[in-house]
Amino acid sequence: MNSYNEKVMDHFKNPRNVGSMDDADGIGEVGNISCGDIMRIYIKVDGEERIADIKFQTFGCGAAIATSSMVTEMAKGKTLDEALVMNNKDVATSLEGLPPVKMHCSNLAADALHAAIKNYREQKLGHKDMSDAAEAHTH
């Protein structure tokens, strides 16, 4: 934990897009309290299936907060299909690396984004409403 690089520390100190969204089109949550990381991502999707706005809330360590912040920055303006191609490793690479111990435990931000996209698509298909989806990810 004493080996975060400057970029990670910058995202920890000044996280981008923190907050919640009352009118989100999709919400995704990953992680659980027993391992100490919970990430929640809210997305707003425009008519061209692009991520028009994105917010996150995270309980977790420096890496958890920094990766959450980074993924929101990377995803903004991307189409949903482009966003689905991004993985956790890409997020870590954009942060110029994470300490090895953090690669598997706190590097879940892309998963949270994918969960939000899945939630959006499920709602669009009318299979589920928002509250059910949010509930399904609650631990």
Binding site: V18, I33, F59, C105
Partner: protein, 386 residues
Amino acid sequence: MRRVYLDHAATTPVHPEVIAAMLPHFHNSFGNPSSIHSFGRESRQAVDEAREKVAKILGATAREIVFTSGGTEADNLAIQGVALAKKGQGRHIITSQIEHHAVLDACKYLETQGFAVTYLPVNAEGQVQIADVLAAIRPDTILITIMHANNETGALQPIREIGRLAKEHKITFHTDAVQAVGSIPVNVDDLGVDLLSLSAHKFYGPKGIGVLYIRSGTKLKPLYHGGGQERKLRPGTENHVGVIGLAKALELATTEMESKQAKVRALRDKLMGGLLAIPEVKLNGHPEERLPGNVNVSIRYVEGESLILSLDMQGVAVSSGSACTSGSLDPSHVLLAMGLSHGEAHGSLRLTLGQDNTEEDVDYVLGILPPIVLRLRQMSPLYHKR
């Protein structure tokens, strides 16, 4: 930027008088204590004097003091040494769930070597219950090892009572007193222990030097072989500079201990009061029966490493029982044994004061922490879900 060190349970700075006592022994009186020439004799004499000094402070005799490389080695020598010496009489060991890993992992290793270990639970305040110790004793119990004060919560354990019980049942009793020595009075007869571990760097001495006190008559086998030093229990050329530093540090720490610790306790109480005034912060460990410098709290909805990083950016050094700081996926085994939830354990913060801390240090921390907590809570999905 102001720098405030509140991690004295991790380690302490070496006292200038300790450095002064050690310095000449690096280059002037550098001889090998085993050499018979004047250089060697000077070192031997210095080691002997240090040993006498340490023994006197602990209420022991010089022959009962064995110098080791620190607390971990002292714990391993005690636990494995007794196990090796007494395996013919029995193969059961009693310890607790809240021990330092030096004890826990030594016990786990012995389990792979055919020993059975009982890991006693603790109550919500982090204290071993004497009734549980009694209930765990078996005819084949050869060793009880329970720490004097816990390194995370500072919770004091009922060592005297366990000592009496061990004596009644003729079981060897070891205590890891690494956190206690230098902070509270420690006397081996008063505690009724057969073996006691301590480490110099916890009380303003150098790292890499510790002691295992071994009561005369206690059966113990060495873990290393290679020479006659330390009555063959810990062979190898003595770290005589370290030994001298340890003795000096122990002497300083135990001189006017009561008034020095009263000052630390007063600062601790102020810090504790200020932390507990933050909404949804709870104390971990016993409110009174704890080390004078220790505060351990759980701050709801936030994670410990984020707290440490945020405090560190403002010059404050503390530690946490969160998984991220333990280097494993699980948070503190001590806090979980006390019945804390994973969330509470991940959100724990340990602040340990020392002799150099001031009222201004405490005010500074109490000034910067509430906004840090608020910022992290505002980022936390748990805070919004509550």
